[in-house]
C-alpha cells in the first residue's frame, strides 16, 4: 500500500533526481543501492520533504542511515517525525 508520505517521498525523489516519473519506484526500492542517493542527495531529500510536509520536523540526532534503506523504511521514519497534524 502506498501512503501519503510514500507519495511525497517518491515525488520528491523524482524531482531531486530529475526523473521522468516515479513509475519505477516502489516501497521496496532501495534508496542508496537502487537510486544511488549519496549522503549529499539524502540531505537534499530531507530538506525537500521538510518543504513538502509542513508538519515535518526532522530531528538530526535521531537519524540513523540503517533506518532508511528503502522507501518504506524512510516513510516509517518520516511518519515518526511528524508533529501533531496541522489543521487542514
Amino acid at each position: 500500500m502506498t501512503t501519503h508520505i510514500d507519495t511525497q517521498i517518491i515525488d520528491a525523489i523524482v524531482e531531486l533526481l530529475d526523473m521522468d516519473d516515479g513509475s519505477s519506484i516502489t516501497p521496496d526500492t532501495r534508496i542508496e543501492d537502487d537510486l544511488g542517493l549519496d549522503s549529499g542527495l539524502l540531505l537534499e531529500l530531507f530538506m525537500a520533504l521538510e518543504e513538502r510536509l509542513p508538519a515535518l520536523e526532522i530531528d538530526p540526532s535521531e537519524l540513523r542511515p540503517e533506518q532508511f534503506s528503502t522507501i518504506q523504511s524512510l516513510s516509517t521514519l518520516i511518519a515518526s517525525f511528524m508533529k501533531e497534524d496541522a489543521p487542514a
Binding site: 544511488g36 549519496d38 549522503s39 538530526p60 540526532s61
Partner: protein, 517 residues
C-alpha cells in the same frame, strides 16, 4: 598576527610559538576539543620524535592518516617543525592506493590521527609488505627539550597532495615551504579587514582548500569547528554547532554551500556571526551567491581560483551585486601578490599559465607529466581556459581536456575510462558525469560488450578497491544498443538513450564514503 619573517621556517616557528600558553580552543569536533597550548606542546613533542628518524636530507615524507581529528593538527605541525614533508591521506583511501602512496613517496613514518587506540595496528596490517613504522599521535605529550634545528631549506617540500590519476602511480603534487609561506602571507592580506571568532572545518585535509581554514585559524588563534563528513546528512546539527561556536568565516566549495542552502536554518538569523564566505575548488555560480546575499544580509563573498600545483589558489575577488547583474559568469578574481597569470596564446584569452611565488615544485617522480605542465621552473600550465578583462580581472572558461570537477574533486574522465578498459574482458567504456541541475554529482559508466549486472558489480567493486571513492562511477550500464559504436565524439542524447534502454544496470554505493570534499 602579521606574518613578518622572510625565512619560511622562521615564519612557521613564529606562528607556532604564539600557540604556547593560549588556552583558547584550536579545534572542536563533536567529541573532542584541542587548545592552542595543547597543540603547541603535543606537536613539539612529536616533532622531537620525528627528528630522531634518520633522514639526513629531510626528504622522506610523513604520511598523516585520518579524518577531521585534532590529532591531524598535531601531526601537521610536528612535520612542519621537524622539516619533514607531510602527506595527508583520508581514512577512506583504499588499501591498495594507500600502499601505492606510501611506496611512491617513500614515506618514513605514518602518523595515525584517530582516537581509536586500535587504528594504528589496523593500519599497520593494511600496509602489509611495507616496513614503514605506524605511530599514534598523543595529544597530551610534552616536549623534553628545545627542538634542534632541521636542515630543510625554503625550497624543500612542505607537503604533498595526492590528486586524481588512476593509471600507474598516484599523482603527488609537491608544494614547498616558500610556497606555503607565500600563501600564509597572502591570507593575512586577503582577510585583513574581516573579524571572526571561529572558522568552519568543512574541507577534508587531503584537499588543499582546507589550508584556508587551517591557516586563518592559526594566524588569528581562532577555533575550527570541524565537520565530520559522516555527519553530512545532519546539516541541522552542524548549523547548531556553528551557531554555538559563533563561527564567522565559512570556507567551502560551492557544492557544500549549495547543500547547506537546502537547509532553511542556514541563514543570518540562526548564524548571526557568519559574515564571510570564501569559495574555492569549483566554479562559483550566481544562484549560490544570490542566496547568500538574501539570507545573510551584508555578508562578504570571496571567490578564489587555483590549482593544487600552485598552492591552493592564485586569484581572489569580492563578489558584488554588479557581478551578479552582469551578463557573464562570476569572475575568479585578480592575481594574488607575487603571482602572475598569463593567457596563452593571449593576449586576453587562452590557456591560463601561472608564474611566480605560488608555483610549486610539481609532480613527484612523473617526469612526463612534469614536462608538459611545468614547461619552465616557476611556470605552470593549468589546462584551464581563461579570459582577462582590461583591469586584470579573470574569468574561467572551462577545461581544455576532459578533466572535470565532481563536487570539488578533480576527475579525469579519460583516465577513468582507460582504467576500466584495462580490466580483463572489457573492450570499451565511456565515462561521463552524472548531471543534476547543471551540476556534476557523480559519474556514469557505459560498458560496451555483452556484460551482465554481475560483471558491472564486479567492475565497480574492483575499482573501489583500487581508487578513491570519488573516482569510482556510481551508475553502471551494460547491454544497450551498441550499433552506434563509440567514436571520438560522444553524442549525449545517445548516451541518455543507452542509460534508458540498458538491459543491465548497477548502482555502486559506498557505505561510509563521502564524495564531498
Amino acid at each position: 598576527m602579521k606574518p613578518q619573517a622572510d625565512d619560511p621556517h622562521q615564519l612557521l616557528r613564529d606562528i607556532h610559538r604564539r600557540f604556547a600558553g593560549s588556552g583558547a580552543e584550536a579545534y572542536r569536533t563533536t567529541s573532542e576539543t584541542l587548545s592552542f597550548d595543547r597543540l603547541y606542546h603535543a606537536s613539539l613533542a612529536l616533532a622531537e620524535t620525528l627528528a630522531r628518524v634518520p633522514d639526513p636530507r629531510c626528504s622522506r615524507p610523513v604520511l598523516i592518516w585520518g579524518h577531521k581529528d585534532p590529532r591531524y593538527l598535531v601531526a601537521y605541525w610536528a612535520c612542519l617543525l621537524a622539516g619533514r614533508p607531510l602527506v595527508p591521506a583520508e581514512q577512506d583511501t583504499p588499501a591498495e592506493r594507500l600502499r601505492q602512496i606510501v611506496q611512491t613517496c617513500d614515506a618514513s613514518v605514518v602518523l595515525v590521527a584517530d582516537a581509536d587506540p586500535n587504528a594504528p595496528t589496523q593500519l599497520h596490517k593494511t600496509l602489509t609488505g611495507s616496513d614503514v613504522p605506524v605511530w599514534s599521535v598523543d595529544l597530551d605529550a610534552a616536549p623534553a627539550q628545545d627542538l634542534p634545528p632541521h636542515d630543510a631549506a625554503p625550497d624543500d617540500v612542505a607537503y604533498i597532495m595526492f590528486s586524481s590519476g588512476t593509471l600507474g602511480q598516484p599523482k603527488g603534487i609537491q608544494v614547498t615551504y616558500a610556497n606555503l609561506a607565500d600563501f600564509i602571507r597572502w591570507q593575512d592580506q586577503l582577510l585583513a579587514g574581516a573579524s571572526f571568532n571561529g572558522v568552519t572545518g568543512n574541507i577534508r585535509h587531503c584537499f588543499d582548500v582546507s589550508l584556508f581554514e587551517l591557516w586563518n585559524s592559526w594566524l588569528r588563534l581562532r577555533p575550527i569547528t570541524a565537520l565530520n563528513h559522516a555527519d553530512f546528512a545532519n546539516s541541522t546539527g552542524y548549523i547548531r554547532r556553528l551557531a554555538a561556536d559563533q563561527v564567522g568565516l565559512w570556507v567551502s566549495t560551492p557544492s557544500i554551500t549549495r547543500l547547506m542552502l537546502r537547509n532553511r536554518r542556514f541563514n543570518g538569523t540562526t548564524l548571526p556571526a557568519l559574515s564571510t564566505f570564501l569559495f574555492c575548488g569549483e566554479a562559483l555560480t550566481k544562484p549560490v551567491v544570490q542566496s547568500l546575499f538574501d539570507r545573510f544580509p551584508g555578508c562578504r563573498v570571496l571567490n578564489t581560483y587555483g590549482p593544487t600545483e600552485c598552492t591552493v589558489a592564485v586569484t581572489a575577488v569580492d563578489i558584488t551585486a554588479d557581478h551578479l547583474a552582469a551578463p557573464e559568469d562570476l569572475p575568479i578574481g585578480y592575481a594574488r601578490p607575487g603571482t602572475a597569470l598569463v593567457a596563452d596564446p593571449g593576449p586576453d584569452q587562452g590557456e591560463i599559465e601561472i608564474r611566480g611565488a605560488s608555483v610549486g615544485r610539481g609532480y613527484l617522480k612523473l617526469p612526463d607529466k612534469q614536462g608538459r605542465a611545468f614547461p619552465a621552473p616557476g611556470c605552470y600550465r593549468t589546462g584551464d581556459r581563461g579570459l582577462r578583462r582590461a583591469d586584470g580581472l579573470w574569468y574561467f572558461g572551462g577545461r581544455i581536456d576532459r578533466e572535470i570537477k565532481v563536487q570539488g574533486m578533480r576527475v579525469d574522465l579519460d583516465d577513468i575510462e582507460a582504467h576500466i578498459r584495462r580490466q580483463p574482458g572489457i573492450e570499451d567504456a565511456v565515462v561521463e558525469p552524472y548531471m543534476l541541475r547543471g551540476e556534476a554529482r557523480a559519474l556514469n559508466a557505459y560498458i560496451f560488450g555483452d556484460h551482465t549486472a554481475d560483471v558491472l558489480k564486479q567492475l565497480a567493486g574492483q575499482m573501489s578497491r583500487e581508487l578513491p571513492p570519488y573516482l569510482v562511477p556510481r551508475f553502471w550500464y551494460a547491454g544497450f544498443e551498441a550499433s552506434l559504436n563509440r567514436n571520438s565524439k560522444i553524442d549525449r542524447a545517445w548516451l541518455s538513450e543507452a542509460a534508458r534502454t540498458a538491459d543491465h544496470r548497477h548502482v555502486h554505493s559506498q557505505p561510509d564514503a563521502e564524495t564531498l570534499s
